[in-house]
Amino acid sequence: MVDHLKQHILLYVLGPLLILTVGASYYRYMVSYDYLVRYEGDCDPYTEICFQYCEDESCNDPSYYTWITREASVIKANCVENDVTLCEFAYTCEAGEENCTITHCDTASDTDECEFLEESDRPQTEQGTSQNEETPS
């Protein structure tokens, strides 16, 4: 019996441990959503320092964003279909909410990506309203 256990110790230790690991991992990520999610948040380059994304080198139509990090369980509880783009709640941190951060571009370390525009550069629309008043999608 002891010899048998010694011979198959890898199976008897690693097998159950592997099953437990898969189970625990499943519970953590698929049931309790105990992890952080990171996604792009809205950013107005005229009032905030934003990360900038360009489709190509000419960068004619850049997009601006911040990084939002928060608990996946919070998103799960407040957003339908787990899609942050369909959820207003996803873009602001609640007061006192733990592990919720909105990261703006840091000009000290992310100079290449960061963008801050002067108010005078803001293009005027025909109705005279500015772009930053539009609801971001």
Partner: protein, 556 residues
């Protein structure tokens, strides 16, 4: 949690706008690994190396599946759940590669203590996989968890890969220098395969994921190239199986080549885009599969026949060895029996001779007749016993030859004179002729040569009921020949072919002589051959007479 920038996949991991190399690097390599793994396991399911190879193929396939799902799926929670499997499978691949190499080299299980070492490597990997040390979050924008992987955890399982490489290299080198040539080739092939696989897989996946996590790469497509190491590893396993029957598996090169061709053609589905290309690929694949099936069946049939012939040859060889042993035993028995017979025979012949010579007074006529018969029969028996003894000596390699130079024609002439009286008694004409151009000197054993000629002439007298016997000496090139030509019973061509075999006599021999042993010609030929010559027999058929020719090389 939905990765909002990407489209949902179809059939779990088929999505548009992915790197072209993704499917080509993932699917064919997995098929090859699983094919070889299951094939080797199927052929030897109880053998440890075979089981471990299958486990390695399965761990690799799990890694591939996780990779494909991560690349194509948009459900962040699912990807986060399977993300730790990258580390677990990589760590298991590294440690089980060590285990596999050990079992391959030593053909036995590793010790209990080494298993504890393996556990010490793997248990932390599993325990920490569900903690933030492994993966703490997920990036819904990039749809990956590179930025949330724990650096220490990543370094730990990568280090396991490098430890495995070093450990395996040491074991392979250690065994290489003590192995024989055949095993050396196997160690070399295995070493190239497993080290190349581990190096490309561990190094490229680490570099790709680490640099992607740091933001240097947009994604980890560099890791695709690391997967081809598995194909090389499995190719080496294939060579080991085909060439060396490693893993106790015998496979035909044709089977492996056809399987490889089918996988290669099938892998084109990973990148052909148009319907026409897909149809062409399908047709090619089908034709290759059919042709391959026919070819393999034909080769298998031939191999089976060859194996059966080899088995038969082995059995024949065994039977032949057994027969030789039996023949040796028989010769020893004959030798012992003959020696025991010779002593009393000498006494019988001696006393019979003394009786005939009148040493014990004059014999009455009736008694003389009886004693003459005793004398003649014992003489014949003595000759037979001598034949048996000669056969034993020849077979045991104990026949002694004393070489000297002498005139063969003179010897034949004297023998003819000696036995002429016997020929005349039977009413035969025995004559000697010579057509020698030179001196006819040969270098041979005089006694043995005399015995041969005596045997041939006596045979001629025995088997010639009426007519003539001519002994003809002549030279032919660098040889001297003595032909004994008779008008006796002759023999068929079939008999002539076997007449020099042991205990072989012509079918019609008993009609004229019943006392022959069938050993005289065998002994004569063996002795002549030993002296550099030979004895041959010619006849136009039964009743047509015979010619027996002794040939000996001229003394130069």
């Amino acid at each position: 949690m939905i990765c909002y920038l990407y489209e949902a996949p179809t059939y779990l991991f088929f999505a548009p706008d992915l790197p072209e190399l993704l499917y080509y690097s993932h699917i064919p390599t997995t098929i090859v690994a699983l094919l070889i793994g299951f094939f080797v396991f199927y052929k030897g399911p109880t053998l440890l190396p075979n089981r471990l190879l299958l486990l390695i193929a399965i761990f690799f396939s799990v890694w591939i599946l996780v990779s494909l799902v991560s690349w194509t799926n948009i459900h962040g929670d699912l990807i986060a759940f399977i993300w730790p499997a990258f580390a677990i499978t990589a760590g298991f691949l590294a440690v089980y590669s060590i285990y596999f190499i050990y079992s391959f080299l030593y053909m036995r299980d590793v010790s209990f203590y080494m298993k504890l070492v393996f556990l010490a490597f793997l248990v932390p990997l599993l325990l920490f996989s569900v903690t933030d040390l492994s993966v703490s979050g997920f990036n819904l924008t990039d749809c990956d968890a590179f930025g949330f992987e724990g650096t220490a955890y990543k370094i730990y399982y990568t280090a396991l890969g490098f430890i495995a490489m070093g450990w395996i290299l040491i074991e392979l080198v250690k065994n290489y220098y003590t192995a024989n040539k055949n095993l050396r080739s196997q160690i070399l092939l295995m070493g190239i395969g497993v080290e190349f696989f581990l190096f490309t897989f561990i190094t490229l996946t680490f570099i790709a994921t680490y640099l992607t996590g740091l933001g240097y790469f947009q994604d980890s497509r560099l890791e695709f190239f690391g997967l081809f190491g598995m194909t090389v590893f499995m190719a080496m396993i294939g060579v080991l199986v085909v060439k060396f029957n490693s893993f106790h598996v015998s496979a035909l090169a044709a089977e492996v080549i056809i399987a490889a061709m089918i996988v290669l053609i099938g892998s084109q589905y990973a990148y052909v885009a148009t319907a026409a290309s897909q149809i062409l690929t399908t047709v090619t694949l089908t034709l290759t599969a059919i042709a391959g099936f026919v070819l393999i069946r034909s080769v298998r049939k031939e191999v089976k026949q060859r194996e059966e012939i080899e088995k038969l040859a082995q059995r024949l060889e065994k039977a032949n060895k057994r027969l030789k042993v039996l023949d040796q035993l028989k010769s020893e028995f004959v030798s012992i029996a003959s020696h025991q017979l010779r002593s009393p025979l000498t006494s019988v012949r001696g006393y019979a001779s003394m009786l005939l010579e009148g040493s014990y007074g004059k014999l009455p006529d009736k008694a003389r007749d009886a004693v003459e018969r005793i004398n003649e029969s014992s003489r014949m028996m003595a000759l037979s016993v001598e034949d048996y003894l000669n056969v034993s000596r020849i077979q045991a390699g104990n026949m002694k030859y004393v070489y000297s130079d002498f005139n063969l024609a003179d010897m034949a002439s004297r023998i003819v004179d000696d036995v002429r009286r016997d020929a005349i008694k039977k009413g035969l004409v025995l004559s000697f002729k010579s057509d020698l151009q030179g001196r006819g000197i040969v270098h041979a054993d005089k006694g043995k040569t005399m015995q041969i000629i005596h045997n041939l002439v006596n045979n001629a007298i025995k088997y010639t009921p009426k007519g003539t016997i001519t002994v003809f000496a002549y030279d032919k090139g660098k040889k001297v020949c003595i032909d004994v030509i008779d008008t006796g019973i002759g023999m068929s061509t079939e008999t002539a072919e076997h007449i020099f075999a042991k205990f072989e006599r012509a079918k019609n021999a008993n009609e004229v002589n019943v006392t022959g042993t069938g050993l005289g010609l065998y002994v004569a030929q063996k002795m002549a051959e030993e002296m550099g010559g030979g004895v041959e027999a010619f006849s136009d058929g039964e009743g047509q007479g015979s010619t027996f020719r002794l040939t000996l090389p001229l003394q130069m």
